[in-house]
């Protein structure tokens, strides 16, 4: 499944980002953007926690992050969690997180206890990585038709997908 920039805009709309489909994401003002390093960590986490059949993850995450992280507190939380994860990778695996292969990233996240950590914005490093990185990315994916369709639901909870789909006997084509 190829993820598109449009999928990211749809995910942003689901997350309530005003003007997600409009000009605000298309201009060149990147003053609220996260750094390339932080974005690389986000993409690397997404490539780990999204199913392997998802392709085009980088552009999806970059577009989503640009729109979603206009909130200063959320942006700061994501950047700090990304930096913590990257520092841990450099310390434990002698390489930036984004340079690790998928299996090693997966194991590093598990070694940090992220799989069983409670997501908490003010908690431990593991709590914050779960909240700001893993759950943020899973939310982008599964609260939008992008990930929902893989499960079998084109209008998942949190996505304003209208009042037609619940009446249908089966999922409509994504182009339909």
């Amino acid at each position: 499944m190829e993820l598109s920039r449009r999928d990211a805009l749809v995910a942003l709309a689901a997350a309530g980002v005003a003007g997600a489909a409009g000009a605000t994401l298309l201009d060149d003002d990147t003053s609220d953007s996260i750094s390339d390093d932080a974005c690389a960590v986000l993409v690397a986490v997404a490539e780990t926690v999204y199913p392997t059949e998802a392709e085009g993850v980088a552009s999806f995450v970059e577009t989503y992050a640009e729109g979603r992280l206009d909130d200063a507190d959320r942006r700061e939380g994501v950047v700090e969690a990304a930096a913590d994860l990257d520092a841990t990778a450099r310390d434990w695996r002698d390489a930036p997180f984004a340079d690790l292969d998928r299996q090693t990233r997966d194991q590093l996240l598990r070694d940090l206890g992220i799989d069983t950590a409670d997501p908490a914005p003010d908690g431990t490093v593991s709590n914050r990585i779960r909240f700001y990185l893993v759950n943020e990315l899973l939310y982008a994916f599964y609260a939008s038709p992008t990930g929902g369709r893989l499960v079998g639901i084109e209008n998942p909870a949190g996505y304003p997908g209208g009042t037609e789909s619940y009446q249908r006997a089966q999922m409509e084509d994504s182009d339909g």
Partner: protein, 524 residues
């Protein structure tokens, strides 16, 4: 904002939920000077999407702010009662988190003692309330259809067309037809088309506890109308007591966040803060003239606390059921409601949100990647569930009292909820479970859960604690919802219901508020 009392107020309304807000809007629009006091805050409409996050995402706080010292309570009954899950304090009240199901009571609900020798008759009947039901449906923007063969007679269509049935409704309809259980649409206080300056439902799927689109009715609409007509609505202003002399309430004494107390005098006072806090305020207002609490010469204040009990069953079938697209129901059956097997009213609900929601499961899981997707595919797609609300008859021992051993953030005793499920309701739940199992068996479902009489819980409908009647020795308010013991004290909301049927109460609350506003307008 101004938090001082309004001089020369005609009416002071305590509580900005649907019961109070409808009275406020109607009386303000009739030209009366109205002030509304609410214990909770105003919730910014612009924050609803973040509240959606708080619902879906573990670790995000900030849904409706219930809990803490302000909302302290105890629950001493045979069955625990989760009071703070059951209510919201704030402008809009519990309609902020409600489901939005709005049915009329049936004719039998007003006559249970006469017809069946149980409970109590209402001092009014369905015919008395019929035109007010129609008004309430317009006030709430009800989407419904005239397809329910069991519903009481009505005089005009619903304001909005009903939401069409779901895919799973069609599956259930087959089984119910085989079992002789006719199904029909559900009246929803949710816009199927734009109405009352609010959008049509866009399918966020999170109606309960938050609707980000504004398509679901909340009492904020009536608060806005009241304010547009000149009413003053003061939030974060918990009323501490009602000052009174003889049979007249002189003022509502309220606190403001800066720690000061104010006295809001008014010609009339309307209590509209729910079936628990209405009671607490009357009991907190005890005096030498009213030693057992204001308006409590009958001793009925706080007694006969009722809720609706949930009964349900669910399982999986071998075809797609398409659940969790929307957060509301579109089909019910009232086929068991008016009969005597069981005698307590029963309303069957066919859920559109059976089984786990994939996004919530993903965010709470302990895995990711391909294995998470496999888990989600396994857990989603084939669930079905049929629920029910089951009537409780009024029992004097189920009651709200003050717990003097525990105090809230203002030093007032907190409410104690004593709740139990009576034998007739337990038997009715067992009977409903039989029907639910039969429906699922007809569909060859693997039944994997049943909520029966031991596991049942409340539907969060607080009724009966300031019951309506003609006899001042047995009831708290008269048929106009005015306190027997106080000339200028009125009570709005489901606390005045003598019996509660098995219908979600808010449409009846709204109808009674329309009626109360008419009566109070005349009295003023």
């Amino acid at each position: 904002m101004a938090r001082e009392p309004v001089p020369d107020a005609d009416v002071c309304i305590v509580g900005a939920g649907p019961a109070g807000a409808i009275v406020a809007a109607r009386l303000a629009e009739a030209g009366h000077e109205v002030v509304v006091l609410d214990a909770g805050p105003r919730f910014d409409l612009d924050d609803r999407t973040e509240q959606l996050d708080a619902h879906l995402r573990p670790g995000v706080e900030g849904l409706w702010g219930m809990g803490g010292p302000r909302d302290a309570y105890t629950s001493s009954g045979p069955k625990g009662y989760p009071l703070n899950a059951a209510r919201v304090k704030g402008v809009g009240g519990s309609t902020l988190h409600w489901q939005g199901m709005v049915m009329r009571l049936h004719e039998r609900d007003f006559e249970m003692e006469s017809r069946h020798g149980v409970g109590a008759d209402w001092p009014i009947d369905y015919a008395d309330l019929r035109s007010h039901y129609a008004a309430a449906e317009r006030e709430l923007g009800v989407a419904g259809a005239d397809d329910n063969p069991f519903a009481p007679p009505r005089e005009e269509p619903h304001p909005l067309p009903a939401f069409p049935p779901s895919h799973s409704d069609a599956i259930f309809a087959e089984a119910c037809e085989s079992l002789g259980l006719p199904t029909h649409s559900v009246p929803n206080a949710r816009n199927s088309e734009p109405y009352d300056d609010a959008s049509a439902c866009v399918g966020y799927g999170t109606c309960k506890p938050v609707c980000p689109s504004g398509a679901k009715y909340t009492a904020e609409r009536h608060v806005a109308r009241a304010e547009a007509a000149g009413a003053r609505v003061i939030d974060r202003a918990p009323v501490q007591r009602l000052d009174h002399s003889g049979e007249r309430v002189d003022a509502a004494v309220y606190a403001t966040p800066d720690g000061t107390e104010h006295r809001q005098e008014a010609r009339a006072v309307v209590l509209a803060c729910g079936g628990v806090e209405n009671v607490r305020l009357l009991l907190l207002s005890a005096s030498d003239d009213h030693p057992d609490g204001l308006a409590n010469s009958s001793g009925a204040v706080g007694r006969y606390f009722m809720d609706h009990c949930f009964a349900g069953a669910g399982g999986r079938i071998d075809r797609q059921t398409r659940q969790n697209h929307v957060g509301f129901n579109t089909t019910e059956s009232h086929a068991l409601y008016d009969g005597e097997d069981p005698l307590p009213g029963v309303k069957l609900e066919f859920l559109n949100y059976a089984g786990p929601s994939p996004v919530i499961e993903a965010l709470n899981g302990d895995d990711w990647g391909d294995s998470l997707l496999a888990d989600l595919r396994e857990s989603y797609g084939t669930h079905l569930a049929v629920g029910a609300l089951v009537e409780q008859f009024p029992r004097a021992e189920n009651r709200i009292t003050l717990d003097h051993s525990t105090t809230d953030d203002h030093g007032n005793p907190v409410p104690d909820v004593r709740w139990s499920v009576g034998p007739e309701t337990r038997a009715a739940i067992e009977r409903v479970n039989e029907v639910q199992r039969a429906i699922l068996t007809e569909l060859d479902a693997d039944i994997d859960w049943v909520v029966g009489p031991d596991a049942t819980g409340p539907a969060f409908h607080h009724m009966g604690t300031t019951r309506m009647g003609t006899d001042p020795t047995e009831s708290v308010v008269d048929p106009d919802c005015r306190a027997h013991d106080c000339d200028n004290l009125w009570i709005a909301g489901s606390s005045v219901f003598p019996t509660g049927g098995a219908m979600n109460p808010t449409l009846t609350i709204a109808a009674l508020s329309c009626r109360l506003a008419d009566r109070l307008d005349g009295w003023l």
